[in-house]
């Protein structure tokens, strides 16, 4: 039985695709964005045990050299996440596809579908294929919320039971992208274009930061690139205002954008042919 490390499952979400959806957040990401709002999902637990000594509720313990988490004792004070030296969390669970399905089934008939997020969900490709196949059998719609680093052209099978993909476009300028994520953006842009071509790019997202990023250029270029495919299937564009909430201390030099900047970007996207633009 395939298993994956899951950070958490949210029973209802209105911000992860159309309709009411349950969202599964996988643990582990292959990018390390400065502005990550949930950095505790980036790495897998190294079982170093720093959190065990700090937990005020004694909800964490060592068993066979592994950190063990007791959900019943936990009061979600998040001390463990604050003290973790590795951008991880001990509050994860190793779940099988059936485990996840059991949890999701409890949310039917209130949800339209499921969205897989993270961390980076596509690091669990085999798990995703199995889970989406079962979700489809339950009549649920299936979305991936990805950072775009998985080469979809090489594994179209992952899209067989997937209704659409949400891709983060962090920056068009390769140098800026590299500096803020420690990764290249060529594959991400190629993926966005490929998914748009086959009508499976549901949404693109860009986090807007007042300093560091070349926001105007990114919004202008990505909308121009994708506009020709809007007739194949609609693509919404979510422009997300950077907020300090959850961001690691060393990156707090990043600045929130003004409403004026957000509105300017919206106009650029609109003028390039996008009409479903969401500012949050």
């Amino acid at each position: 039985m395939i298993k994956a490390v899951v950070n958490k499952i949210i029973d209802h979400s209105v911000v992860d695709g159309v309709g009411n959806r349950s969202v599964i957040f996988f643990q582990g990401c292959n990018l390390n964005c400065h502005y990550c709002h949930n950095p505790e999902t980036i790495n897998h637990c190294y079982h170093c045990g720093v959190c065990v000594t700090h937990c005020p509720q004694k909800a964490l313990s060592f068993q066979d050299d592994k950190v063990v988490y007791d959900r019943l004792k936990c009061v979600d004070c998040d001390t463990c996440i604050k003290v973790c030296p590795y951008d991880s969390s001990p509050k994860t669970a190793l779940l099988s596809v059936d485990d996840v399905l059991t949890k999701i089934k409890q949310n039917i008939p209130f949800i339209r579908g499921i969205t897989l997020s993270g961390g980076e969900c596509t690091l669990n490709a085999t798990f995703i294929k199995a889970l989406f196949k079962e979700a489809k059998a339950l009549n649920l719609s299936t979305l991936l919320d990805s950072n775009g680093t998985y080469d979809f052209t090489l594994d179209p099978e992952i899209l067989d039971h997937c209704d659409g993909v949400i891709i983060d476009i962090k920056a068009i300028n390769a140098h800026i992208h590299q500096s803020i994520t420690k990764a290249d953006n060529q594959l991400i842009i190629k993926n966005a274009q490929y998914l748009a071509q086959i009508g499976k790019l549901t949404e693109i997202r860009t986090v807007v930061i007042a300093n560091i990023l070349d926001n105007h250029h990114t919004v202008d270029q990505i909308t121009k690139l994708l506009a020709p495919y809007l007739t194949i299937s609609p693509i919404s564009y979510k422009l997300i205002k950077y907020r300090h909430f959850g961001v690691r201390k060393k990156y707090l030099y990043l600045q929130e954008p003004s409403d004026d900047l957000m509105n300017e970007l919206q106009v650029i996207a609109y003028n390039n042919g996008f009409n479903d633009i969401i500012l949050i």
Partner: protein, 509 residues
């Protein structure tokens, strides 16, 4: 019954006419109610009724000792607009301006127990043919002033309008106007049918509901089946026949019945059946008095012009406090399970409701012929003196369950109450970002047995108190000793101040 001396009468009248928080009209209504209550209760009222009224097991909702009209009336406005009225000296309207003014005139001439119309019609059905022949902007301006007129001149939150289930220009305009107008009258229901109500229209209604606490959603198919194709939703959420209504709404406080029992067996074998029988006999006596003695069904102009018909009326057999009732019985049986959270407690709730439903089906009243001579069960939303008594079968505020569990629990009970039931789930502002998600939750609720559902945005001015709307700003004014147009605000003070309405769990998405 009433042994009140002259000095006491003077004192009571002076208290009413010197009340700074009442308008002249509201004082007049209070004076009339005081005078009416000097009458004895109907002749064949059972003795046991007075005992159960005193120990709070039964509550007659301040309908008055000698009601001289039916409690809820739902005039057939469609018929009125087609035939005009000789009493009102009105010809059938030929355009939107005439139609709206004809309706306003009619609303002013509906005088029943509540002295204001508790049902003002299916506005889209009534007005659509006039609206579509006008320029949309002009129609919108007229509808805007129609709604303002209703809010300011009717001034009672129990006045209810219906729209849906199919979309229309009229309903569309109304949904656009409500957030802008921020009015507490009329109360409004969208008759929702997932087959007939398109998602975009339902989503528009939900966005409007978040911003203005109106409309609530009623599952159209349920009310059609249990009340009839020609049903209307009146007052808080009362499903009744258009052209008819309800003679009375009397209610059992189930928690008091449980309190006065020795335990589970005594509850079923003695106290509950006694309360049911007594309430039914009291309702029989009251209905006979209204039908046989009072002038209402003989001489009211609505009867004479065929806009209401006595044989479409019914008695509403109300209950409140099921949550507390179950918990009290569990405590008496030394069991830790509680209503809402625990399966066995919810099962007991269902058993209690099945018991009452069986009783109501067996009891016959000859004046309820449209409903097989039966009363209809009603999950009453609460009234004064309801300390530690939750509305109908609702889970107590402060004891709310996670959203889906809460909805499923409510779904166990709604089907018992064809003449009125409902649950309220306020959401925070994130719901406005994605109304399709809220619609999914509403659809899920209807699939889970819920029949009537409402929402509002937790931090807005308009809130749904129990089954009706008030403005928080009006509440503040009354608390500061000022009068406001809406006479229901004073009624809302008690539930808001004492029954934690402000603490109702606001769901975040």
């Amino acid at each position: 019954m009433t042994n009140i001396n002259y000095d006491e009468i003077v004192k009571a009248v002076e208290a009413i006419v010197n009340d700074n928080t009442k308008t002249h009209d509201q004082m007049g209504m209070a004076l009339a109610k005081f005078a009416e209550d000097l009458l004895p209760y109907p002749k064949s009222t059972p003795e046991e009724f007075y005992r159960l009224l005193a120990n709070k097991e039964i509550c007659d909702l301040n309908e008055g000792h000698g009601p001289y009209s039916a409690r809820y009336i739902l005039p057939d406005y469609e018929k009125f607009l087609k035939q005009g009225s000789s009493f009102l000296r009105l010809e059938p309207p030929t355009n939107l301006l005439e139609a709206i003014n004809s309706l306003i005139i009619m609303y002013r001439n509906i005088h029943a127990l509540d002295r204001y119309p508790v049902f003002i019609g299916r506005l889209d059905i009534l007005l659509e043919s006039f609206v579509i022949t006008e320029d949309r902007a002009y129609a919108k301006e007229l509808l805007k002033w129609f709604l303002i007129q209703i809010d300011r001149s009717i001034g009672y939150s129990f006045c209810q309008a219906n729209i849906g289930p199919t979309p229309s220009v009229t309903a569309d305009i109304i949904l656009e106007l409500l957030p802008e107008l921020q009015i507490s009258v009329p109360n409004m229901t969208l008759r929702y049918d997932p087959e007939l109500t398109p998602d975009d229209f339902a989503q528009k209604a939900l966005v409007t509901a978040l911003k203005s606490a109106n409309p609530a959603f009623a599952l159209d198919s349920f009310y059609k089946e249990r009340i009839g194709d020609n049903y209307g939703i009146a007052s808080c959420y009362n499903g009744l026949l258009i052209g008819g209504g309800a003679y009375t709404l009397t209610r059992i406080r189930l928690n008091k019945v449980a309190e006065h029992s020795k335990g589970l067996n005594d509850f079923f074998e003695n106290t509950l059946i006694n309360a049911c029988k007594t309430q039914a006999q009291f309702m029989d006596a009251k209905i006979a008095s209204i039908v046989e003695n009072r002038a209402f069904f003989k001489s009211d102009w609505l009867v004479k012009e065929g806009l209401i018909s006595r044989d479409k009326f019914v008695g509403l057999f109300g209950i409140v406090g099921l949550n507390e009732c179950v918990d009290i019985l569990m405590t008496k049986e030394n069991k830790p399970e509680r209503y809402g959270t625990d399966h066995s407690a919810n099962e007991l709730g269902v058993k209690i409701m099945e018991f009452i439903e069986t009783f109501v089906k067996k009891h016959h009243n000859k004046y309820c012929e449209a409903f097989n001579n039966n009363f209809l069960l009603h999950a009453q939303v609460g009234a004064a003196d309801d300390d530690d008594t939750s509305p109908g079968a609702r889970i107590a505020i402060g004891k709310e369950l996670p959203l889906y569990d809460h909805i499923r629990q409510a779904g166990l009970f709604h089907h018992f109450f064809p003449s009125g039931v409902g649950d309220i789930f306020p959401f925070d502002h994130t719901a406005l970002r994605n109304p399709s998600a809220l619609l999914d939750i509403f659809k899920g609720a209807f699939k889970s047995g819920v029949k009537y559902l409402s929402t509002y945005e937790g931090s807005g001015d308009l809130i749904r108190v129990t089954g009706y709307l008030v403005k928080r700003s009006d509440i503040e004014k009354v608390k500061n000793g000022e009068a406001v147009i809406n006479g229901s605000v004073s009624l809302a003070l008690d539930p808001i101040e004492n029954r934690k309405i402000n603490q109702r769990k606001v769901r975040n998405l």
